[in-house]
């Protein structure tokens, strides 16, 4: 009993420490950023956001202010050295942010230091006390807790004396700290892999540095990523994380959640193919990810249709994302097996998305899928047909990152998903996938062709089913007018998974499983 009490205290203490830690960071307002930064932006400090032109610095900064006002009730000021306030307001309107209204409500204020037409001549010593006076005045007038300075690089190019500007910015940083302001300062990098920023800016705001990237990855694709270079005295994720700037602002997609959440497996759901359910000892676990791999023509899309149609019949929410066939083609194919897919789609039970793989970037696909699932209010069944279509377009590493991100999102949303993958070899099988997807999938089902007695036969095998027993046999199946029909195990052959199958000389009852057969041999030996 007393032990329990002690334990309870310990937990409470832990919580307090945790709380204290969190006090050092405040929500950034940028979706996903608080995950990679483990809490948000360092509170009461200045963070440098640096990136090349077009990497999203101003959006990051404006979103930080906007969401701060809308979600945290922390007013903010925007000091602009580049764009005019009116341009910023109209640009940000495309994200649905009504900054004008916030300005009218005295929650958001600008310090307009954008260049004007008048000439400036420098004669002797000067400083930026004018800026500081204006900032102080505006901060007081809206009771600001957040400040954005965009961008300091422009300041350097306007006043050539970098030493003076560095000194002045350092003073401004110190003042902001004194006032307890959390600030974002943006800076421009000349090249993506070069120094953090021009003019040695990182020297005076070196505590916290975030880098934004917008770079070419492959065949004309650009990818946006964000990277936390350092948060002094605080932990954060190290990797570059994909981000997109969409119609609601900036969103960041952490590849891995800090914990592998997801409800865990409780119940099983049917694949829609009774024979396959038997092989899986009752079906697929809820909230699992299944990799369905096989050569082209082995029946992956038919299996997928079984899965989706069964879900729709049970009144479950289903999403099918198709990269290889058009909607009309799919409707026709489904019809040939007696399923009215179109009806389910029209009634809204099934969401069908048919896209060319190279229409969007991986991040945009991730976002599309995420939005789709959230709009749909969750989904029980999700199908991707096929991921290999994407693999052709993206580089292996990038592709892998994308799939891991997708998988973790599906787990969090409690979706049960099937992902199809096309292998190259017609007969043999040297690897399941070319991108090591097998480790992230809970279940692996292989469909393949085998040449037997002068015939091409299809066979199916369950290679892996996490948390459950499953049949180990290689089982023949056919595609009939009713869809996939699982036949008998192909026993009495070996080399079925390779490229040359042959009959082995032992005859036994075909109804017995292979395991029993092996037990018999063992028994005979002993």
């Amino acid at each position: 009993m007393s032990e329990n009490v002690n334990e309870g205290c310990g937990e409470k203490k832990k919580e307090n420490v945790e709380e204290l830690k969190n006090l050092f960071k405040i929500p950034s307002g940028i979706t996903g950023f608080d995950d990679i930064s483990k809490g948000g932006v360092p509170n009461g400090r200045t963070t440098l956001v640096s990136g090349t032109s077009g990497s999203g610095k101003t959006v990051f900064a404006a979103q930080f202010l906007y969401k701060g006002i809308m979600e945290q009730r922390m007013n903010g000021i925007f000091v602009t050295f580049e764009e005019r306030p009116i341009d910023i307001m109209s640009n940000m309107k495309s994200f649905g942010w009504n900054i004008k209204q916030l300005v009218d409500e005295k929650k958001w204020a600008f310090v307009d230091a954008s260049p004007d037409e008048s000439d400036e001549i420098k004669v002797g010593q000067y400083d930026l006390n004018g800026l500081l006076a204006r900032m102080e005045h505006v901060i007081k007038s809206v009771n600001a807790k957040r400040v954005v300075i965009d961008s300091v690089s422009a300041l350097f190019s306007r006043y050539e004396d970098a030493a003076i500007i560095r000194r002045e910015l350092f003073r401004i940083g110190a003042k902001l700290k004194e006032w307890g302001i959390t600030a974002i300062m943006t800076a421009e990098r000349p090249v993506d892999d070069g120094p953090i920023a021009r003019f040695g800016i990182e020297e005076f705001v070196s505590d916290n540095v975030i880098l934004l990237h917008n770079r070419h990855v492959n065949r004309g694709y650009r990818e946006r990523t964000i990277e936390i270079l350092k948060f002094r005295g605080a932990s954060h994720f190290m990797n570059e994380t994909p981000l997109i700037i969409g119609n609601v602002g900036m969103e960041i997609f952490p590849q891995q959640k800090s914990d592998l959440s997801g409800k865990g497996f409780l119940t099983k759901i049917s694949t829609g193919i009774s024979g396959l359910d038997d092989m899986l000892h009752g079906g697929l676990y809820d909230n699992s990810t299944t990799l369905l791999t096989g050569t082209s023509g082995t029946g992956k899309t038919v299996c997928m249709l079984h899965y989706i149609i069964t879900g729709a019949k049970n009144g479950e929410k289903c999403i099918l994302i198709e990269f290889e066939e058009s909607a009309e083609q799919l409707y026709r194919n489904a019809k040939s097996f007696g399923w009215n897919l179109k009806e389910y789609v029209d009634e809204g039970d099934v969401k069908l998305v048919c896209r060319y793989p190279d229409e969007l970037t991986p991040q945009e696909y991730l976002k599309m899928i995420k939005d789709l699932i959230l709009e749909f209010g969750g989904a029980q069944r999700v199908g991707f047909d096929s991921l290999s279509a994407l693999e052709r377009i993206y580089e292996p590493n990038e592709f892998r990152k994308y799939v891991i991100g997708l998988n973790s999102f599906l787990k969090i949303q409690n979706c049960t998903s099937i992902i199809t993958n096309t292998t190259n070899e017609l007969l043999g099988m040297s690897q399941l996938t070319s991108t090591h997807l097998s480790t992230i999938s809970d279940n692996i089902i292989v469909l393949k062709y085998v040449e037997l007695c002068g015939q091409m036969k299809r066979l199916v095998s369950v290679l892996k089913e996490r948390g459950s027993d499953h049949k180990k046999e290689l089982i023949e199946f056919n595609i009939t007018k009713n869809g996939v029909e699982i036949l008998k195990p192909l026993i009495g052959f070996e080399g079925l998974m390779g490229s040359s199958a042959r009959k082995i000389g032992i005859h036994f009852d075909e109804k017995e499983s292979e395991r029993e057969f092996l037990q018999q041999i063992e028994h005979a030996e002993s």
Partner: protein
């Protein structure tokens, strides 16, 4: 040195925005000496504004650097930033003198 005609015809309106510190003190002292220049002939109006007391006035001209001497008349508007330690440059900025390379050096 040549005088600009406009400056003789109408009162030159100059504004100094400052922050009460050394740079600004020096700028005012320097400016007063410069304005004693015979070529100006006393035809000017000078207004000195403290940024700390009137920060909103700084907003109007988008000023950030201090001290700043603003020449409003005759147009165009010119801004001269700094403690005004070079008389020739200041007079040039005020459009009182024509460009003379040697004097700038």
């Amino acid at each position: 040195m040549q005088q600009r005609k406009g400056c003789q015809d109408e009162a030159c309106n100059k504004v100094v925005y400052y922050w009460p510190d050394c740079n600004s003190q020096r700028a005012i002292e320097n400016l007063k000496k410069i304005l004693d220049e015979p070529s100006l002939d006393g035809k000017y109006a000078l207004e000195i504004i403290d940024f700390l007391e009137h920060p909103h006035l700084a907003d109007e001209g988008k000023n950030i650097a201090t001290p700043v001497l603003i020449k409003k008349l005759p147009p165009p508007l010119n801004k001269i930033i700094g403690d005004l330690n070079n008389k020739e440059k200041v007079l040039l900025g005020l459009d009182v003198v024509e460009l003379n390379e040697e004097s700038i050096k």
